[in-house]
Structures are given as structure tokens and as C-alpha cells.
């Protein structure tokens, strides 16, 4: 089943999402990238109803880009999360709501601090030190309660992420095989190998 995690640390946010695209019981694809880079310092992991996910993610991506072109500066993470949340909240009471769950992580260049927003398809948004979506959240959140450290270095943060992924692989019946991991910090966004 689809699973995504995100962890904040000292000056960075790590976001991980599994790479399987499944239809019913069949794996259609095992190298799907479900983390979009919205702006130089903003990442978004998306999961949910296939079709809705990519459609919505691209809509967000283009609008965040448009804002940057018009204003010559990008939206800060909290503002971007707020706009995305509102889009989902409006969609919820429309004829066909997007069923997309998100983790929006960014590095705020104004305050030099990482920020992570947990957003679900209803438009519920909350800033969290760590977050997760999907069945993996039932295992990861309790682990992160124990091991998360906001002052951890990137390497320590990645170790904590490994703990989460290993636990999900060990205990979840329908666990995903591979994950794509991305980091955002003062230097921008990049993909990292675990």
C-alpha cells in the first residue's frame, strides 16, 4: 500500500515516498516518483486516488511556478501549504473532489528554518515535526515519537528514516518495496540514496 514519510531536522526536511504504482492487486510500475519539486526550496509528496494525484500535483506545481513568475519570488512553505490546503478544501465541497493526501516540506529562506505540513484530502492541514500518510503511518508515527530529534544532523535523520522503512517492511503485510527519498535544505532540493 502507498506510504509516505517526512521528517524535519536541523535545517532540513527529508521526504520519502514509496515508488509503486498499483492497480488492484497488480503492481503496474515500481519506479514512480511521487515527490514533486514545487520550487527551489519546496517539496511535496502526494498519494491517494490514482489520476487525481498526478492531476492535482501538476496543478499545484504550475500554480506555484506561476506565482514565482508573476512576483519574482517564490511562496514561503507555510504560504504554499495554506494555498494548497484551500484548493483541497474548496475541492472537497465540489462535484468531484480530489482525493489526494500530501506532505509539503520546505526550507524557509526568510527564517532559515525547515517546515513541514501534513495535509489530507479533506484540506486538514497542520504543521508537524514529522508526518506520514498511508498504512505506514501506523508504524512510523510511533517510531518517530520515540526517535525524532529536531536537532539531528542529516545523517541521523536518514538513520531515523531507515528505521521507519525497515519497520514498515517488517510488519506491514502489503509493504512497498522501494522508496524515493528527497531532501530540502538551504542548498535547495535533491534526491538522496538510502
Amino acid at each position: 500500500m502507498e506510504t509516505s514519510f517526512a521528517i524535519t531536522g536541523k535545517g532540513y526536511v527529508i521526504i520519502a515516498a514509496d515508488t509503486t504504482a498499483a492497480r488492484s492487486i497488480v503492481k503496474m510500475k515500481i519506479d514512480e516518483d511521487k515527490i514533486k519539486t514545487l520550487s527551489p526550496h519546496l517539496l511535496m509528496a502526494y498519494s491517494g486516488e490514482p489520476g487525481d494525484t498526478l492531476q492535482f500535483a501538476e496543478y499545484v506545481e504550475r500554480n506555484i511556478r506561476l506565482y514565482q513568475i508573476r512576483n519574482l519570488y517564490p511562496l514561503r512553505p507555510a504560504a504554499a501549504a495554506s494555498w494548497i490546503r484551500r484548493t483541497l478544501a474548496d475541492s472537497l465541497r465540489s462535484r468531484s473532489p480530489y482525493q489526494v493526501n500530501l506532505l509539503v516540506g520546505g526550507y524557509d529562506e526568510a527564517t532559515h528554518s525547515p517546515s513541514l505540513h501534513w495535509i489530507d484530502y479533506l484540506g486538514t492541514s497542520v504543521e508537524v515535526p514529522f508526518g506520514a500518510h498511508g498504512y505506514g503511518s501506523y508504524f512510523a508515527l510511533s517510531l518517530l515519537d520515540r526517535y525524532h530529534n529536531p536537532e539531528a544532523s542529516l545523517e541521523e535523520g536518514l538513520d531515523t528514516l531507515r528505521r521507519c522503512i525497515n519497520e514498515v517492511s517488517k510488519r506491514l503485510v502489503v509493504s512497498p518495496g522501494k522508496y524515493k527519498v528527497k531532501v530540502v535544505d538551504k542548498d535547495g532540493t535533491r534526491e538522496v540514496e538510502l
Binding site: 490546503r85 484551500r86 483541497l88 501534513w118 489530507d120 479533506l122 484540506g123 486538514t124
Partner: protein, 208 residues
């Protein structure tokens, strides 16, 4: 599965002697799974009004933004700050506009209203999710722990409490109520409004 209980959370407001208090828990969950222990449900409206929004998480944020917009428009058009009574009616009509597709929120309003003599009078009110107002003289409650809050408040509250005593009363009421509610808790926040200051404190509570 009730929509009103999907994210959990509770709010309470109480009247004291020339002061009012409003408090809420800090939990946001997905049914039984806790997501955040820092989800604010109580917001300042003016220097003398606070509103607490218990119910569906997405609507907490949407309504907060909507109230901020409407209060700003009121302030600009009227060239004065909104009074608590007026704000309660603003809340009511905002909710009733959506009578047949409501916001799943039961708001609580607490404030100090101006009297003709220039003094300040405590004011509290609560509404249901379609805006039926309850102007109580003692206390109002809302959220998944509402029945527990009623039991405690009815037992602990007394008239004309001084700010610090009101703080203790509302804190004990909230803490003991949310400890018996699986969907509320994970920390709490209390605001006491007096004529010359606002006391805001985050409480240490059980985290289970």
C-alpha cells in the same frame, strides 16, 4: 463514523467576575490515530474576543479564515471593532448560510463587551453546526468531550470567580474531561480575558 468525531477535539468557555476564559485541547487525529499535538482550535478575533472551533479539522481552518475575512470587512466598513454579541451573530449567520451543506463545526465565542457606562461585561456563546446560538450565563462547551465537560463544569464552576480562580476552574474542567475522552487531549491551551490583560497558558496534560 461521525464527521463531527473524525478529527476529535474539544473547546470550553466560562464566565468569571469581570473576566472570561476559553480553553481547548491540542489534538488532531484521524479517528483513533493521533496526527498532531499542536493543532490550535482557539483564535483571537479582536483584542477582546476569542473564538473556539471544535469539529472537522479542515472546517476549523476554513471557518477561521472566513471569520477573519468577515471581521476585517466589518472593521473597515464600520470603522470600529466588532462587539462580541455582534460577532456571535456573524458566526451564526455564516453557519446558517450553509444550512443544507454545513461546516461541521460547533463554535464557542468568549469576549468582553462594552457597556453603555464604558465598563466591560463578560460574554460567552456557543452555536450548533447550523448556527443556533446558545447565550449561556455560566459556561458553554463543544466537541467530542462535551458531555464530560458539562459534568465537570456543572460541578466545579461557581459565579464571580476572579481571573486566577477562573483559570484553575476551566483548566481542571478541561483536563479532567479530556482525560476520559479518547478523541480529545494531547495538551491544552487556556486564555483568560480580563479588562487590562489576556493571560494565555499552555497546559501540561496526559499525552495518552
Amino acid at each position: 463514523m461521525s464527521i463531527m468525531e473524525y478529527n476529535g477535539g474539544s473547546v470550553i468557555a466560562m464566565v468569571g467576575k469581570d473576566c472570561v476564559a476559553i480553553a481547548s485541547d491540542l489534538r488532531l487525529g484521524n479517528q483513533a490515530l493521533g496526527i498532531s499535538s499542536n493543532f490550535q482550535k482557539v483564535f483571537p478575533v479582536t483584542d477582546r474576543i476569542y473564538v473556539g472551533l471544535a469539529g472537522l479539522g479542515t472546517d476549523v481552518i476554513t471557518l477561521r479564515e472566513r471569520f477573519r475575512y468577515r471581521v476585517n470587512m466589518y472593521t473597515i466598513k464600520e470603522e470600529r471593532e466588532i462587539e462580541p454579541e455582534t460577532f456571535a451573530h456573524l458566526v451564526s449567520s455564516t453557519l446558517y448560510e450553509h444550512r443544507f451543506g454545513p461546516y461541521f463545526i460547533e463554535p464557542v465565542v468568549a469576549g468582553l463587551s462594552k457597556t453603555p457606562s464604558g465598563g466591560l461585561k463578560p460574554f460567552i456563546a456557543a452555536t450548533d453546526l447550523i448556527g443556533c446560538i446558545n447565550f449561556a450565563k455560566d459556561f458553554v462547551v463543544s466537541g467530542t468531550a462535551s458531555s464530560k465537560l458539562f459534568g465537570l463544569a456543572e460541578g466545579l464552576w461557581e459565579p464571580d470567580l476572579e481571573p486566577e480562580d477562573l483559570f484553575e476552574t476551566i483548566s481542571q474542567t478541561l483536563l479532567n474531561a479530556v482525560d476520559r475522552d479518547a478523541y480529545s487531549g494531547w495538551g491544552a491551551v487556556v486564555h483568560v480575558l480580563t479588562k487590562d490583560k489576556i493571560i494565555s497558558r499552555t497546559l501540561k496534560g496526559r499525552m495518552d
